[in-house]
């Protein structure tokens, strides 16, 4: 593992940085309950579209505080989103503050929050949305959906695609024929109408998150087909390589030849394809929200948070912090792309010229 990280750092520093960023994004989404100062559906009606709270060290009399603090928020006109800092009220930011009891990861009951203010002070690091919910907390909770969905979808479709693609390519003949016809049948499904039909077919007592996960699973059960075709094509050419003949002549079994010699040789493609299709799922989720299949309010996901703000011109001009989920989508996608690049570099050792 350490060796791998070292190689990645030497080979491609950007992808190493990307890996670190992705790592932290996942840590934050894992600990969302603990880090976020408010629950995702907590509404502060009077603070609709409040801009991000500024964190101060020096108060109005010029006195320096070691502990950072926020000022209270004075509402001027909450319907048009006008707020002022109330410089008379100082609320220091405290770590491990007590708040409402909730279960971390749905398991451990706790009433500690990583940071927050006591009393009437409010801390909105990324501002609030129209309903007055803390965008920072919602971004954290939303990352749970947005970051996990890609992994689930990708792992299902890639495992199936690799399995059927390599079998079909390696054995050829009848097996190939049958599997490829199956793939064509699966590729024939019109996915948009399938989604509409699924929407109607799902029982109404499932929560929106459950429905969304089901849809991703079903989509990836369809999505493996095109991947299997590409893998099959690659296997067809790899199995003619001379090292496969050599491996056979040394008495290595068919199973080992497929798993050891053929599949790893497709990795230069598959790893890039995996890292490139994860962003597809993240973006696809926001598109699905439009037809009522994505994550529904009040549950947050980066996609549906962004679609609310992009659809509203007033928000775009007066509350730009509402676009922050878009920044996180961008960050995740670009990090996965860089990571894919770096992984391709180190999984194909013949590209290594530095030795």
């Amino acid at each position: 593992m350490i060796n791998f990280l070292n190689r990645l750092r030497k080979k491609n520093i950007f992808s190493f940085i990307a890996l670190i960023i992705i790592f932290f994004l996942y840590i934050f989404s894992f600990l969302a309950d603990f880090i976020s100062p408010y629950p995702f559906d907590k509404q502060f009606r009077e603070y609709s579209l409040c801009p991000p709270t500024k964190i101060h060290f020096i108060d109005k009399s010029g006195k320096f505080h070691i502990r950072p603090f926020v000022y209270g928020i004075r509402i001027i006109n909450s319907s048009v989103g006008k707020y002022r800092e109330d410089k008379d009220k100082i609320y220091p930011i405290k770590f491990f503050v007590r708040g409402n009891k909730r279960k971390i990861l749905g398991l451990f009951p706790s009433n500690f929050y990583l940071f927050g203010t006591e009393g009437d002070g409010k801390i909105f690091l990324f501002g609030t949305d129209i309903q007055g919910r803390d965008v920072f907390s919602r971004v954290l909770y939303g990352s749970r959906i947005s970051l996990s969905i890609g992994l689930i979808g990708v792992s299902i479709s890639f495992i199936l695609g690799l399995f059927f693609g390599s079998i079909s390519g390696y054995f050829g003949g009848k097996v190939d024929n049958i599997l490829m016809r199956l793939v064509e049948i699966i590729m024939m499904f019109p996915s948009f109408y399938l989604l509409l039909a699924l929407r109607a077919a799902f029982p109404t007592d499932l929560s929106t998150v459950q429905i969304y996960f089901l849809i991703v699973v079903i989509l990836s059960l369809i999505g493996w087909a095109s991947l299997a075709r590409i893998i099959r094509g690659m296997v067809l050419s790899i199995k003619e390589e001379e090292f496969i003949l050599a491996a056979k002549s040394l008495g290595i079994s068919t199973f080992r030849i497929i798993t050891k010699h053929i599949i790893p040789n497709t990795f230069s493609y598959t790893i890039t394809a995996i890292t490139l299709s994860i962003p597809g799922y993240i973006l696809g989720e926001s598109a699905l929200s439009l037809i009522g299949l994505g994550i529904q309010e009040p549950y947050p996901s980066w996609g549906n948070m962004l679609s609310v703000s992009v659809g509203n011109l007033r928000i775009l001009t007066s509350a730009p912090w509402m676009l922050l989920p878009g920044f996180f989508i961008f960050l995740t996608i670009i990090c996965f792309n860089f990571l894919g690049d770096g992984l391709r570099d180190i999984t194909d050792p013949s590209l290594n010229t530095g030795y």
């Binding site: 050599a246 002549s249 040394l250 990795f267 050792p349 290594n352």
Partner: protein, 320 residues
């Protein structure tokens, strides 16, 4: 009885329009600790003979009739599962271009450990690999290197190591030195000689280079257009070749010529398998051509220690 016996092997290949026999009536045997060279021009069926013995023929090719006995067992009847056991343990093969016969994405050690058969723990397998690396005169650190980091000679040593790691009784070497320079190829040949004598391996050595074959092997089988036209002990072949084709091949050896003298070649080319000449396949290029050669196929005739298929030494016995 020999390690390997091939009897009346006929291999055909299905082309778009018709089926052609690319190996015709191949019969030979190889004894214990014997080194036999197959020589002949490109396209004479040397590699196909080797691949039939491994049962690794390409999909279009098919064994029509014949027997291939390895240690008395006919492998033509065996299925793929049983062949996996035979390959590596009884027969193994090394190839022409070592760089393309190693998997580029794994380290040498990783690939060699893969080849070790039998119920051994990982550590034992690794020990065995390092032992073999020593035997093929490679340093231990090669274990952790990738194929592209090695030179051609080192890669060929790795291939040889992989081939002999399970102590097979027969090794097929398909032009193992063709892709290497002269001094490296000599070192590889010396290494092979050493391994053959220490492990008592029989070898089929496929080459274009007759002088190398004479130096390396006990017997030489000359192939032409999918047939073995002559089988002779090496010394005898180079001094008094029987078949006109062997004679011509030996006449082409550059060592026999003075400086600046023009080297003779065999006129014409190896015939296309889909339109083989009638009778003896060599007759269009043969200086001793008789009428009979165009009509009939010569049988194998024993002369001293050699076997030859040519009408110069015998009568017609079979209609074509």
């Amino acid at each position: 009885m020999g390690i390997l016996e091939v009897k009346n092997l006929i291999v055909s290949i299905q082309s778009l329009y018709k089926k052609v026999n690319i190996l015709r009536n191949i019969s030979f045997s190889i004894g214990k600790n014997e080194v036999v060279s197959l020589v002949g021009e490109s396209g004479s069926g040397k590699t196909f003979t080797a691949l039939s013995i491994m049962k690794l023929l390409p999909q279009a090719a098919k064994i029509e009739t014949g027997e291939i006995l390895i240690d008395g067992e006919n492998i033509i009847e065996k299925d793929e599962k049983k062949m996996v056991k035979i390959r590596g343990e009884k027969v193994s093969m090394i190839f022409q271009e070592p760089s393309s016969h190693l998997n580029p994405v794994f380290t040498i050690g990783n690939q060699m450990v893969e080849c070790v058969k039998g119920n051994l723990t990982k550590g034992e397998k690794k020990e065995k690999v390092i032992e073999i690396l020593k035997e093929v005169e490679l340093p231990e650190y090669i274990f952790y290197q990738y194929p592209h980091q090695l030179s051609g000679g080192m890669q060929q040593r790795v291939m040889i190591g992989m081939a002999i790691i399970n102590k097979p009784s027969l090794l097929i070497a398909d032009e193992p030195t063709t892709a290497l320079d002269v001094s490296t190829s000599f070192r590889i040949i010396n290494l092979l000689k050493k391994l053959i004598s220490t492990h008592k391996i029989s070898v089929i050595f496929i080459t274009h280079d007759i002088s190398l074959a004479v130096n390396f092997s006990d017997k030489i089988y000359v192939m032409y257009a999918g047939e073995i036209v002559e089988k002779s002990p090496s010394k005898k072949l180079i001094n008094s070749p029987l078949h006109p084709y062997s004679e011509k091949l030996i006449a082409c050896l550059p060592e026999k010529y003075k400086k600046r003298e023009k080297i003779k070649t065999i006129e014409g080319t190896v015939p296309d398998f889909s339109s083989l000449p009638s009778g003896c396949a060599f007759h269009p290029r043969c200086p001793y051509k008789k009428e009979i050669c165009e009509k009939f196929l010569p049988e194998e005739i024993k002369i001293g220690e050699s076997y030859v298929r040519c009408f110069r030494y015998g009568k017609i016995t079979k209609n074509n």
